[in-house]
Subunit: 643 residues, 2 copies
């Protein structure tokens, strides 16, 4: 045991020295937050972690997540100690082009489980990975999550703790590096280990208080954690920030600061200098994931043209169909599955449905964890409530995760529930996510087809569904591609083109009927693929109509379908782009709605058939007034139309 302790001590010293070396070379980074956790990680890596560094994709590997992603010097020093990277690469830390970014990123480093750096997210992702191990792959791997003490103030952490005990994730082990000091002074709870322990226990965890620099105590704590049968465990490790570098131990003002070269040199010498220890990590089990399900050919639901069905219901039906076809499909919902209709999947495949209750951040984080274990993950809630998880969505895009999101109850057309339940910013939010896809079907068959497309679409893929029933207008054999559109009405003398999607597509249909009766031909484009938008169809409409477009959406005026259309014309199109830039009239929600019947609210927002028709008439006649440059953007309401 003495030899073992000495080996751990030496490894911890190397992790400290390397954490200092790489951050000092970079001139930035968080060495002090790395030093506090070095002893914990030395024991974990030497004795408990099971990992094949040559096969990071091995499903039996333990998962190690640095929820405190700023301790990346420590993580990368571990990668060096296990031989995954060499010392030369370690010293590229934070440099342009290096894989060793300021915060860990699986986009570039295969051993990183998820991008962290926005605090309070790693533990929620770990919950998803542990759910997979226990309920899906049925593999005995463990998920280890290193947390900072400051991030325990994030509500997302407690959503994760809640779900971990609810799902009895005994193979999930959290380690709180309680070093007392946050970025700007003492943390909220300081060294109050009992305070953390009480919270952990109240949330159903096994809590273990320990001295995070006492190697035998660390050893015992990990052993106790692994002995748990039903509860996740949390080590509350009292540590000292900057531990091992005496002048900055437990000192304020050293968060996120690299040691200057002279201090670093002295500190490294005091720690016994550089070492060349290579630690041998235990290999993982060699088991097959449990799930080898028989998969049937996909048989999407079919809806009769002319009937009325809600697209949210079609989403659920299609999800259930896809579930029969794809064994790796997993569905999460935020306690609204009977509204989003993901309950259709739950009824068919209860073992692959995980209720996240009203915890949207955790739903997204668990989705990231499950996606990282190879599952195809669909998640759903009201469109409005996805705003709750925007930071997690943003980070998922950094992680390069494939994740499918559905937002139901979009727009004023939900009616009586009022503005708190109306997703009116979801398109803007989802469009600005890196590499995202944004889809917005108008009928049930289109929805089913787009759910099928989502299954094969990488990155963050968002589907917006509608609360009310809408006419089925597409035959079930109609195909819909991501990036495509459908031109529903077209003639040789189209004077204006209307671009719509979802609920407004039906309003635009009615508008076209009225206009045709008056002898005004308008083209109608169903822009179900909001991102990427079908630029070719827009450019053609621009040419064919002499540059007259009306865009109508059940969404705020900023960043949604209107923006997608205007931005489409706003690139480097000087050469081979459209011959003329169009005049684009944007109809969108511009005043705060209240409650009311859907038709009343669509009319009040100026996005119903009558307003569309009036905009087309005035644009066709060249009568449209200039919009006043008041606060925000605002279309001058077409004259003669109802309030």
């Amino acid at each position: 045991m003495k030899d073992v302790l000495q080996a751990w001590k030496e490894l911890a010293a190397q992790l400290r020295v390397d954490s200092i070396r790489c951050s000092t070379a970079a001139g930035s980074g968080h060495p002090t937050s790395s030093l506090s956790a070095a002893d914990l990680m030395a024991v974990l890596v030497s004795k408990y972690l099971k990992y094949d560094w040559n096969a990071p994709e091995n499903p039996n590997n333990d998962r190690l997540i640095f929820s405190k992603g700023h301790a990346s010097p420590l993580l990368y020093s571990i990668y060096k100690a296990v031989g995954a990277i060499d010392d030369d690469e370690l010293m590229t830390y934070r440099r342009f082009g290096s894989r060793l970014q300021g915060h860990p990123n699986p986009r570039v480093l295969p051993w990183v489980e998820a991008a962290t750096g926005s605090l309070g997210q790693g533990i929620g992702i770990g919950v998803g990975m542990a759910i997979n191990g226990k309920y899906l792959d049925e593999l005995p791997y463990r998920t280890w999550v290193l947390l900072g003490d400051s991030e325990m103030a994030e509500g997302s952490v407690w959503e994760a703790f809640d779900k971990a005990s609810y799902y009895q994730l005994n193979h999930l082990i959290a380690i709180i590096d309680m070093n007392r000091l946050g970025q700007r002074g003492e943390t909220e709870l300081g060294w109050d280990a009992a305070g953390y322990a009480n919270r952990c226990r109240a949330f159903g965890w096994n809590a273990i208080e320990l001295n995070g620099h006492d190697l035998p105590a660390i050893d015992l704590a990990f052993a106790e954690a692994l002995a748990q049968q039903n509860a996740p465990s949390c080590l509350i490790a009292k540590t000292i920030k900057g531990r091992g570098v005496e002048p900055i131990e437990n000192a304020d003002g050293w968060h996120g600061k690299a040691l200057p070269p002279d201090m670093a040199e002295k500190a490294i010498a005091a720690l016994g200098g550089e070492r060349r220890i290579t630690v041998s990590v235990s290999p993982p089990e060699n088991q097959q994931p449990a799930r080898t399900r028989a998969e049937q050919p996909l048989k999407l639901p079919v809806y009769k043209v002319g009937e009325q069905h809600a697209t949210r219901k079609a989403y659920g039906d299609a999800l259930a169909a896809l579930g029969a076809s794809r064994g790796e499909l997993v569905v999460l919902d935020g306690e609204v599955s009977n509204s989003t209709h993901s309950d259709e999947f739950q009824k068919a495949f209860p073992d692959r449905f995980f209720e996240m209750f009203i915890a949207e951040q955790q739903m997204l984080a668990a989705g990231v964890g499950l996606a990282r274990t190879g599952k195809m993950v669909f998640t759903s809630t009201f469109a409005a409530f996805w705003t709750r998880a925007f930071d997690q969505i943003r980070m998922a895009a950094i992680s390069n995760v494939d994740l499918k999101l559905c937002g139901s109850h979009a727009g004023v057309s939900i009616g009586e529930d009022g503005p708190s339940q109306m997703g009116l910013e979801d398109l803007a939010m989802m469009r600005t996510v890196f590499g995202s896809t944004v889809l917005y079907p108008c009928d049930a068959n289109q929805t089913a087809r787009l759910v099928e497309r989502m299954a094969e679409t990488s990155g963050i893929c968002y589907l917006r569904t509608t609360r009310g029933k809408t006419d089925v207008i597409y035959d079930e054999r109609e195909a819909f591609e991501v990036g495509g559109s459908k031109t529903l009405r077209q003639s040789d003398d189209d004077r204006v083109a209307i671009v719509a999607a979802g609920i407004t597509l039906h309003e635009a249909q009615k508008a076209c009927d009225s206009l045709e009766a008056e002898g005004i031909r308008a083209r109608l484009i169903d822009a179900y693929s909001v991102k990427p938008i079908d630029r070719d169809a827009l450019f053609k409409a621009d040419r064919d109509t002499g540059g007259r477009l009306v865009v109508v959406e059940d969404h705020w005026a900023e960043g949604g379908l209107g923006a997608a259309v205007t931005e489409a014309f706003a690139l480097g199109t000087f050469g081979a782009g459209p011959a003329a830039q169009p005049t684009i009239v944007q109809l969108a929600v511009q005043e705060m709605p209240g409650s009311g019947a859907p038709a009343e609210l669509l009319s009040a927002a100026g996005i119903d058939a009558e307003h569309i028709a009036q905009a087309v008439r005035e644009l066709a006649a060249g009568k449209l007034k200039t919009a006043p440059a008041s606060h925000g953007i605002r279309l001058d309401q077409t004259s003669g139309s109802p309030k």
Copy 2:
């Protein structure tokens, strides 16, 4: 006492009957979630609440927040019982134009403290109101928050619980209506009162378990809560969903459903029919708010043209200056005040600075609560981390609250910390908030002036600051209006206009220098007011340059400054708008950045001086290539420019 009990019982029956009546008349709503809490509210309103219904603005009033906003039938029935509204108005519930929306909204109803309906937010807002009572106004009013049990799964609730005990808010009383049933079945904890109590106690609260239909027990529980000296109290009230309507008591499948008229009729009869009770609510104290501070004339900080200062530092300096001038100014930060530089205010006015630690949702919610008590509230964190509070920001806009947000460390120009810390979607997010203002200064004097402007700007007002130091280019006497812009370079033969803001303004300056040396004149517009954007300046630039604009921003390509510019040209401008629609080249971040030096990352993103100059050259020469219509939007990188 018997008479009192009888009176409470009668009132509770009336609240139940009216909740049923108004929701059945509306054909929608949540009567069962109202029935469960009727006894709790009957006692509260009859005995404990202190409120002047004729003066909702009275600072001594207790605050009553329905965090479970869907129980609005109960809230509105209370309003009727106290005489604030009449029965006719009650029966307009959920109708178009009615003040009685599906979820309570202070925009239309003066007694509502904050818009709720997105769960888990009311308690955080209550924390802000209780902070005001204890630390600012120093008034003895109490803040009562009715919570649903399902929303206890939201992490934001635990952020609020955490801050409430940290700030020892003994005048904050939470009431959990533990009716066991959520929207789609049993809640996570069901009737496990001890489970809730343990969590409350672990978070520092006094927890009281009770039967929520036992009127004397409710009375005792409120009394116990009010006797607390240092801790907030939480009543965990075991209740029955649908209580009082026997066929649907504790029955699944009745969430959010109005009773059909025949059922309603029977239920009302069983409850003893309609009543006409008017309850007399105790008046509030008659005290003056403590804070009558001497206010000095505003003396903004001044920076010398030609020096370099970070706009984030100028934000902090200006905030401190504003604090001396405005006694009602309160500042919150999310444990990054030494990065956002709100610590400059904290040093000057520690009693008006509230540390929210790393809990962005709670920071925003507390800001709403403080703003609703008449404070001018500035809040700050990294631009990236505001995504964590998007739902709270969305709801604050529904509440019609004035709130000032600052996001620091925006864009790739932060450098080595990498993408998790780069705000690259904040402009899109903030622009799509209803009624918002979005400002993005490029130098220290401009920042100080815009902080001054923020103080007088209503709604959600967002300021984006930059991490690194930038040249001071504006004299301190220069004025900046919301909705304005500055044209920094202009000539009679401008061939292209560059629109930039913040960090890219400085890159554009350098680009203009190079271009002028080549004989190419470009106009340069500082679009510091991203929303509202200065459309007149854009239209003029369009006319003067023959329709050639380059927009450059340190932000994703969707929804930011580029969208603001394209959308500005995309309204009903057919008549008196710009003579020609411009060609707009959009330079924005389009690939996932890594770590690196700021200059390296600006170059890699194609938004530095060299890329701007090249785009201008090619646009001026008519050589710009068409952008490929690939995934998302993407500008074809100008040839010859560095990778």
